[in-house]
Symmetry: C2
Amino acid sequence: MEELRNPADDRREDRRDDVVVDAAALAAELAEEHPADIAEALDEEEPEVASAVLASLPRERQVEVLDLPDFDLSSDLIEALPVEEAVRIVSEMSADRAADLFRWMDEPARSHLFARLPPETQAELNRLLSYPEHTAGSLMTTEFVTVPSTWTVGETLRHIREIERTRETIYAIYVLDPVSHKLVKAVTLRRLITGETGQPILSVAPKHDPITVDPLMDREDVARLISKYDLLAVPVVDQHEHVLGIVTVDDMIDAIIEEGTEDAQKFGGMEALDEPYMEIGFFEMLKKRAGWLSILFLGEMLTANAMQHFEDELERAIVLTLFIPLIMSSGGNSGSQATSLIIRALALGEIKLRDWWRVALRELPSGLALGSILAVLGVARITAWQLLGFYDYGEHWLLVAFAVGATLVAIVTFGSLVGSMLPFLLRRLGFDPASASAPFVATFVDVTGLVIYFSVALLILHGTLL
Amino acid sequence: MEELRNPADDRREDRRDDVVVDAAALAAELAEEHPADIAEALDEEEPEVASAVLASLPRERQVEVLDLPDFDLSSDLIEALPVEEAVRIVSEMSADRAADLFRWMDEPARSHLFARLPPETQAELNRLLSYPEHTAGSLMTTEFVTVPSTWTVGETLRHIREIERTRETIYAIYVLDPVSHKLVKAVTLRRLITGETGQPILSVAPKHDPITVDPLMDREDVARLISKYDLLAVPVVDQHEHVLGIVTVDDMIDAIIEEGTEDAQKFGGMEALDEPYMEIGFFEMLKKRAGWLSILFLGEMLTANAMQHFEDELERAIVLTLFIPLIMSSGGNSGSQATSLIIRALALGEIKLRDWWRVALRELPSGLALGSILAVLGVARITAWQLLGFYDYGEHWLLVAFAVGATLVAIVTFGSLVGSMLPFLLRRLGFDPASASAPFVATFVDVTGLVIYFSVALLILHGTLL
């Protein structure tokens, strides 16, 4: 049998014989397990053992395992299988999973396998692969149930029984106009089985129009719709109201979790890893972290410029430097709070781009209030240290305390405003609001914060310390 | 008719007549809409209009709207309804939603309504309300389908047709031992309808044991299971393998999104809001933000202590102060990256508590590599400014650059290690790892970072600048 991968050296061939024995035993053991558990077991084996086990599993089980949406090994396993086997399995897999497989497979195995697929499967896969990542089109599958609106409940049920095996879900049935093939209604299986066999299918349809999505809709928006309407699947339709495919709820859960991970990593100040932490290569991870870290570092260099600019003041009033870290971090922290609030609210659709001024009107008083709280704490700290004799801030200590307090109010207000407005600005410019990471906001606020601090200090301490 | 709320003043009664007319019209308009859209429309009305509209909707539609998992208004609306109406609706609602309703309702309306419910509904609600928040038990509903394992496919189908209306989902059917009532298998509706009517129900059951959860399992773990096995519902069983209820996939989606929001807000350095940003009260929000902000501020005050401690060095080498913000932020940023990676990996179950040393072994070289990159940038910056004449760092500028570079390597490595270990430590101590927020890590690294900076500088510049 021909292999997709070039046959390895002889040593590997020798090892293979041992592997086959183990694999058959393991396959027999796993055959009755839930596909997700089989996948987990395969994940723990060496790649060649895993592919041998897969090859020894019952046909039906092979397809079920590879059909799992979060089974990362699938492309490696398919590549390791004899090509006839691979073709058979891919043809039986659900279309969305098969498309994922081809997204992940390496050349030349990818083209090699693709060329051997039946023409109609090729056409279907090409269509699915043409949609940009993270859109409804790229997530959808083409195995759904449609019936003409002229059918009865009984006819529909009979049809579903026949085709059940080949469909991703049969819990939603799409009723089409018999002539135009436009989507008329979406019927749930639960309503269908309670209907009278002789009645028309439309008798069990809901009154409202079906909820549909556009193939280019972002997966976050699809998730919001599925969650809002508690759907098990949502049809993807083109501008002529023809159903192109469906996105099912299990794909959505994976998408929501993935989206959450990406957002969390971006907010942490790095590129999204796209792979589990323990599985991503060391240099791959370094690359995703070093980029942002360096950009932030370059941005933060401006703080050195700012400090150089105020060098004279620094030398005259060294006491001011003592509070630089405290003041800078307070601006960064309040900015980080505001940013995380707004990124999440934008992601959930709680607020829209046009709400920016409402948010600004909330953050302005919030920032003033939070800044005042910190100012009180800060002034109390300086006063206490001075009066208790822990440290001597000089004869103008009260003015210094006042300068620190006033700066805190200004900088926390500024941080809250900048932190809350940045996600809006990024979305407006077409970027992901989640890129307004905590470190990004902190860097931005740090530089301006220093300028604010020295300006306020100059104003208050002019003629005394400065 | 008696009302749950004390009747308001006459003016309100007068207004009510107008409201009734509008409400009836709006209700007629909305009656054919999807329940989620009706809920959205009600959300935009004044509370009294909304409750009047709800009262005018068809009975079935009322229950559907209140059954929506994320309909926040439901408790207010139920409180505003005449008590007989409220009792009828609550009895028809799904048990998990009704339990939510009682979680949200205010006294005395809550007890008043509860007392009038049928005893069996009271018992059921009391049981559901007894489970702690965010557990499988608190999320489950008790309307599920069970059949004895002695039944045939045909009997089961007939039974489902009869009871469909009263069940949250009929897509999973739980097959029980006829004597012990223990859970034997879980059958999907799709396999059921493809079975032969005369065959036993077990003929369409999968070979593997049913996937079950414990009532006290955390919702994050339930979500992981539902996602792993692509389930539409998972049964909650007690230690005797009796089914207590089921958690459905739509509840899980809401739980995952909520969990993501909480984690994002905690990571941003505040308490989770628990309410949408635009809806939470101003002082409520302030409270959730001020707490952490003040704690972080108090922690960051230690930077002032550290600076005071190195006051002599500061005065002798003012040039060192120029790089304090740059160095501190680099430590914080690398810590924030590491923390966001580990929090997420822990939340997804990609890594376990016992993996801490593997993570440490990855973060140590990552930190060294990332720190070296920043060190090169930092030294290049100082050299460039010096040689190009932008700024004069003094005769020992090369040593200063070297001190800054060495500190960057040390502090980024330290930041990565602390940032990655903190979530483990928090989980070990029983806290939520997500509390290791970006600001928290930054504060921790800031204080130690200053000490590292001055120690390294003392070591390198001793005898020259210091």
